[in-house]
Symmetry: C2
DNA sequence: TGCTCGCCTTGACCTAAATCAAACGGGTTG
DNA sequence: CAACCCGTTTGATTTAGGTCAAGGCGAGCA
């Protein structure tokens, strides 16, 4: 479910369309509704490195990523960091908010996103009940993912964590066995609950074992996907 | 938001009421609807130790806990276990499902719950749109919680994990500074990503430091809540 | 072409928590 | 009441991964 780059009003309609999975539905949104929605909807762009959601600030907006990648993380007072996820095009952000945002969001690459105010989202949902359904589905899916990440962070070894990370990314990559990582080693480490040194060492161990090739720091080729998936699952 | 023990039909109405937060709404549910819902709704009881949701089985039902406590966990093929959460009265289960259940659920104490089939849930949601809204809110809240647990599992020390666990449970306990744990040390360990030995040692360290008292294995008194909260947050 | 600045890798060493191994209740059973 | 079981505690030892400390390497720049 990818959303493409449009002007604000069309994005609102696009948002709505997510729920019904049919392009034709755009036509049934009355013009005056689109106008009204446009006042609650906005298209934004950020450069790599810019932070657009700040932890502990009031959660006033809801976002849909349309282009680029972002990093979501939570911080501890002494600077320890946990990356809770990476957002790619089509992903919703701000759902997890409960009064205040529970995380920071920062652009990893040039980023485009569609912003909807809380009020605008309510309006959208009342006009397109299927959007609400879609958000519920999305939230459920994210909860499943979160459970998988708890297992990873609580119980998996460094090797299993890296194998999980690689197969997860290969799963959504276009060319299925070559992945290009838009994030640094530090981001990977904070995502997997490891240090950069361990990430580096473990990737090299996987390379020595003939499971991956490291073309470039950011470009990794999976040589034996089934074996990696087996490691990821903690294959007995 | 606690749900009490009722017959099946009333529980369906009760489910609906969650969304509107008003007792009077029961009255507006037409009798024929109640009858129809009753065919999709069921009240169940389990003894401590019984498993009522099995990982990887098709997610056909949706549950609301009405009495008792349950444990949710995911397993790895070699037996490693991650407890992803504990369910107490009022909690929804089965939202995270995406085709198949992503976790096991087992009763920790004698447990009562209300079961609704997927179809029944759809029917309920179409009749009470506010229920869907309520579920979305609930899912968002759980996502926030999940992010906090990722930080805990990925970055906190054993001491911080136990302090987080204790303050989290004190937060919802009736008598605010004495908590009674319905789970074993093994469950706590698997919840916090530690071993039972580390849980035991760390609890005793907190006791030696005058932060808690351990009346009984399952009964813990918090002597200095602010200090524990500070430790839990990783207080600089 | 060489400089510099961020990443990333590699090596040596350390430590928090895991593992292994007894022993200790405290409740139930014969 | 003794024997047993199961969950827990406590102690000794090990280890996976963290920390500290050099280097290396590639991209942008003069």
């Amino acid at each position: 479910m990818l959303l493409r780059h449009h002007d604000a009003a069309n994005l609102a309609a696009e948002c709505a369309r997510c729920g019904v999975r049919s392009a034709s539905v755009c036509a049934v949104v009355p013009d005056e509704d689109i106008e009204q929605l446009a006042t609650y909807t906005q298209h934004l762009e950020f450069e790599a490195g810019q932070t657009f959601i700040n932890q502990d600030e009031p959660a006033e907006d809801f976002f849909v990523v349309t282009e680029g990648h972002a990093r979501l993380c939570t911080l501890m007072p002494d600077g320890r960091r946990q990356v809770t996820g990476f957002a790619s095009p089509g992903q919703f952000l701000g759902l997890a908010a409960d009064g205040n945002y529970a995380f920071n969001a920062e652009a990893l690459t040039p980023l485009k996103l569609c912003r909807v105010t809380r009020h605008g989202l309510k309006l959208l949902m009342s006009q397109f009940p299927q959007l609400e359904q879609r958000l519920l589905t999305e939230a459920s899916r994210e909860l499943s993912v979160a459970q998988g990440r708890m297992l990873l962070l609580g119980r998996k070894t460094a090797r299993e964590r890296l194998a999980s990370f690689l197969t997860e990314h290969a799963g959504m990559a276009a060319c299925r066995d070559v992945i290009v990582l838009p994030m640094t080693r530090t981001d990977i480490a904070d995502y997997l609950g490891l240090t950069i040194e361990t990430v580096s060492r473990t990737l090299n161990a996987l390379r020595r074992d003939g499971l991956i090739e490291i073309d470039h720091v950011t470009r990794i080729r999976l040589l034996d996907r089934p074996a990696l998936e087996d490691i990821a699952a903690g294959g007995a």
